[in-house]
Subunit: 200 residues, 2 copies
Amino acid sequence: MNSLERLIQEIARLPGLGKKSATRIAYHLLAGEALEAQRLGNLLQGLHEAIRPCSLCGAFTEEDPCPICSDRGRDHATICVVEQPQDVAVMEASREFQGIYHVLGGVIAPIEGVGPGDLAILSLLQRARNGQVREVIIATNPTVEGDTTALYVARQLREQTGVSVTRLALGLPVGADLEYADRLTLARSLRGRTSLGDDT
Amino acid sequence: MNSLERLIQEIARLPGLGKKSATRIAYHLLAGEALEAQRLGNLLQGLHEAIRPCSLCGAFTEEDPCPICSDRGRDHATICVVEQPQDVAVMEASREFQGIYHVLGGVIAPIEGVGPGDLAILSLLQRARNGQVREVIIATNPTVEGDTTALYVARQLREQTGVSVTRLALGLPVGADLEYADRLTLARSLRGRTSLGDDT
């Protein structure tokens, strides 16, 4: 196998890409300037050196602790618990949350052999017990595994700490069309209905 | 901007990828083993060193001339003219063509400022005049630019060489449904209809 075939193979292993899109990308890089491929190559080579998980929250960061954990302007009494490091960036993009984060590093999934011990739950309990934390918002995905994990984490927090535990609201996405909402989402959004005037 | 943001930006510039898919890929590489990112990084850094255009046909290759041009088992009397280096791989995948290739490096597109002089047409005429070539098959894409380029190249070949010039057949794709065929394709496939029994 030559370099081009090896490159296509490596690119095709990335999420969301197949053989066709990998081939297109490889030829694009070949047809372009050598500098572009080298710049990307350099970034990839140094990636794991430059960026590591924050020792406090688990988000990917260049400095440890991460800019969010070391920001005294943020609300250190509220921890938002997410599944993956990238979820921190998603939450940050909403510009709605002022607290700090905790990355679990996955969800409880017995079929795939992932139990509570494989997730950063002990360190969350430790952080929640430091006397400073008042609320933990669980922001795992609204999936079977995400819900299971949320329930497990919530019970542990209630049993072992005095913090209040909340969960992101479920309902219709903003701008959605009722006609296209699935039955479960509609049911949850009905159950969680809010009095008109409550909302801001 | 940190390394992660720079990486996402670079990946998002690749064809077919946007900010979302680039973010997903970057986090996938970060969450995976450092070795995987480094392997990809190495391949990209050495890409333009390892792979260059064949000095005869213009296809990307590790050896010059490329394995196809230097294969004495192939039919050197038939040249297939394609737009881009990657089209060679596409033609090869059909396992139908036994001749050699010539890469134009694009199509005539006056609006984008690409004229005949920007394409590898002179070198094609030179190759077609070597006395060994009998047929040139033009396999540019069936687009306005591809057709214009095909007509231009065909005229040059007819005026300046004695080779016969052909073009890939247009018609319905195998496995297609008449109902979903566009009007132009249907018209071309009607005009180019073949007597039943002619086909193998």
